[in-house]
Amino acid sequence: MYFFLDTWFLFQKYMKITLRMPLWSLFTLVQPLIWLLIFGQLFRNFSSMPGFPSQSYMEFFLPGVLIMTVLFGSSWSGVSLLRELNFGVVSKMLVSPIYRSSIVLSRVLHSAVTVLIQTLIIFGVAWVMGAATPVSGISFLLTLVLIFLLAVGFASLSNGFAMVLQREEPLVVIGNLMTLPLLFFSSALVPAEFLPSWIGVIASVNPIHYAVEGVRKVLVGDFTLQSLWLEHAVLLVFAVLTLVWATFIFMRRKD
């Protein structure tokens, strides 16, 4: 019971702080938006290639941009953990009787919820631009679940690496390494059928690939609930494992 309350109050705090600086959250949207607009134009003619699975590249690319928003939004969660560590905020929490694990969980949840809101904004922009097809309630929900799980995973990784590295600079490097290359090793930019086989192998163990594929299936409307279980299962496992790892790292942190 107290575990949930502790998590809830800390989550509230982080949300409050984020909402007080809405510009900061909007800044992280700039890059995905630029990608959506420029890449959408740059690769427009790809859709006329034989075998391309979609009518317009923009429509094909939208899931990739949504996932990118998730990555850019959640991979910096650890930076603010380091700031809180340096400012003594974490020690202050640690001398109080709260559950240690709720500190990590509240941070990760905050990051995931923030990212969820960001992807909704991107989706809205895409919809206005005509790139998004209207989706039914259930499929929309399935998309949000995928996005949420992926965000939990990457926010956990970021928090975990923050504890391991203890420094912002290497954490930013790791954050960059985690997001962009992994995005290339997925079907975010190029259809899965077009991927070279060695990239295909990497993609098959890349949670980002599953998220992109899942979101794409849902948005294209070409899915049955049975065909989506793999994506959801992979991301659920990914989210749980990384969250447990981050919590573990945090609890046995060095003093």
Binding site: M1, Y2, L5, D6, F9, L10, K13, K16, I17, R20, M21, N86, F87, G88, V89, S91, K92, M93, L94, V95, S96, P97, I98, Y99, R100, Q166, R167, F248, M251, R252, R253, K254, D255
Partner: protein, 403 residues
Amino acid sequence: MIKTDGLTKIYSSGCKAIEDLSFEVYPGEIFGFLGPNGAGKSSTIKILTTLSRPTSGTAFVDGHDVMKQAGLVRETIGYVAQETGVDYFMSGRENLNLQGRLYRLSSHLIRERVGDLLQFFDLQDSADQLVSTYSGGMRRKLDIASALIHRPRLLFLDEPTLGLDPQSRLALWDLIRRLNQAFKVTVFLTTHYLDEADTLAQRIGIIDQGRIRVIGTPDSLKDEIKGDSVNLSFESLNGVQKQMVTALRTEPYVKDLLEEEKGVRVYVANGGEAIPLILKSLQSKNLEVKSVTMSRPSLDDVFLKYTGKRIEDSADSGDGNPWWAKWQKGGSWGGQKGKGKAEEESPKLEEWENDPKKWNVSETGGQKGWPSDASSWSSKEEGDHSKNQETKTYWKADEKNKE
């Protein structure tokens, strides 16, 4: 209130932060932990506040073992870290509210106590402004206020006046004194300011390079250096001359002698009478004295006596790891494995539920809404030891450590 025995902390980098600390803090007193930067003050506080585990030795806070009963210790203590642990993007009131939540107080109780604290710390006017607009002194006050939300009986203040301007410093001293006197909060304070320890603390422990050199009341410590200190400085001294100067030690009127970089301090019963004798003795050896000053012993002399150096000269002994340590060859990448144990989980629910007084005491009345019965803050009073003038020296520098 605090009792430690043989407390030792060695960081995984191999750096020995504190070594064999044994001391006691009595209920109701302000205990000053005085030492230069890197002496091990913060390491000690971190162990006592359950933030860090000792490598060996034991520590009890209010009768609870800091390692085995971390949950109970956390309920007893308030902790104000060196860094201000308040959130800059929340208002003062929100910071206090959250703190109350983290201590699982009821919302009714939180409202009441937050009001009281804002009043006591004179922060009402800026209570609803973001902390980022606060001055350093206000932040510090808010930080202390939030450490008091659960009415701890023991308050840890780690270098509370570090980085404050002189005025805020004086105001904070006054506040700490009021907290201690009116509400019987035991205060464990670390500082590297001699005057701070001298004015605030009823007893002082001097720590240097991880070891406690002496413990006592400021007066009794100063009394140990009775009489005056005569400070001689020289233009330059070679080895032989230095030996001749330190030979003053054998003169009958000299009680003690300390070497400094460019001179010596001679402790004598009566400075006025001793100075001519000293000068005569030095002159007979053809030694040219550059200047002579005389002073009443201060804590600085006490510090000098027990550590062999002035507090401002004491070098940082490198407490903790540099951030890049782990990037070095053979850093803690591998060494980290399996070293730390998972932090203990927070106290079980029953501990809270079975003890309603822990989080549901609602006293009213009294000045400024604080409990009229001040003893409710320290229910386990064991007599006021703070007036105990007896000097307790648990550890004195021996020859080996004087170097």
